[in-house]
């Protein structure tokens, strides 16, 4: 059952961004082009995804998942240096090419070498991340 649900979730997560243009790298860069020909449409994709998710979050308290396990607990809400530095890095990478992790995986079959190269570099970055985080923590100054 969990595998079937994973297939459904993966299919939706693959189809949604594809149909809405979130995997279109030109469109993503257009969305980030605040100082040029700004294409606002992807903000509606994100907004549209946030609404059903907000309803889902409201239903979570007091319930357990139907297929076993438990819902992830709410994470520590503290704003730390890792969050800010990581988000800046992610934003730069996202702006450079127009790919974030989901679409990067979704485009593997048709993105050719561009997608493969990005994907390999992204996995490399994920492997380097713990070391980068430790280095960030050890830098001087207030966190």
């Amino acid at each position: 059952m969990r595998i079937i649900l994973a297939l459904v979730a993966g299919s939706l997560f693959g189809a949604g961004p594809h149909i809405s243009g979130m995997t279109d790298t030109t469109k993503v860069q257009g969305f980030l082009d605040f100082f040029g020909a700004w294409d606002v449409t992807l903000a509606f994709v994100m907004g549209g995804a946030i609404i059903p998710m907000a309803i889902a979050w409201r239903m979570v308290p007091g319930r357990a998942p139907l297929v076993g396990g438990s819902f992830a607990p709410a994470p520590d809400p503290a704003l730390d240096r890792r969050l800010i530095a990581g988000s800046i890095l992610f934003g730069v990478g996202w702006g450079l090419i127009g790919l974030c992790p989901g679409p990067a995986i979704a485009s593997l079959t048709y993105g050719g070498w561009n997608s493969a190269l990005f994907m390999i570099a992204m996995l490399g970055g994920m492997i380097m991340a713990p070391a980068a985080a430790r280095r960030l923590d050890s830098m001087s100054g207030q966190a």
Partner: protein, 102 residues
């Protein structure tokens, strides 16, 4: 999978990833999207590393912070989303200036 945290959950993670790859492959036939066409390899590698490190140490990306975080009014999600959209906008601006397209 990269962080080996899956444990016994790897079949469902594999199913999720399989569907995530397969469904757009089919959709691409009927409604193709433009993907990173003719990008310099060095730019792809640099961007990939930034996205990989960034999303890992910030614990989320457009889906994690943007959709899941904002929808539960998480301060971390909201701040992260504002920061990465701002950084992305400045990066696109920088690209435009460098490429002379502004």
């Amino acid at each position: 999978m990269v962080d080996r945290s899956a444990g016994g959950a790897w079949p469902e993670r594999l199913a999720f990833l399989g569907a995530l790859v397969a469904v757009p492959a089919v959709l691409q036939v009927g409604m193709p999207v433009d993907i990173a066409t003719a990008q310099a390899p060095v730019l792809l590698i640099l961007a990939g590393i930034c996205v990989g490190i960034g999303t890992s140490i910030a614990n989320g990306c457009t889906s994690g912070h943007g959709v899941c975080g904002i929808s539960r009014f998480s301060p971390r999600g909201i701040v992260a989303t504002l920061v990465y959209i701002g950084a992305g906008a400045l990066t696109v601006l920088a690209l435009r200036v460098v490429l002379g397209g502004l």
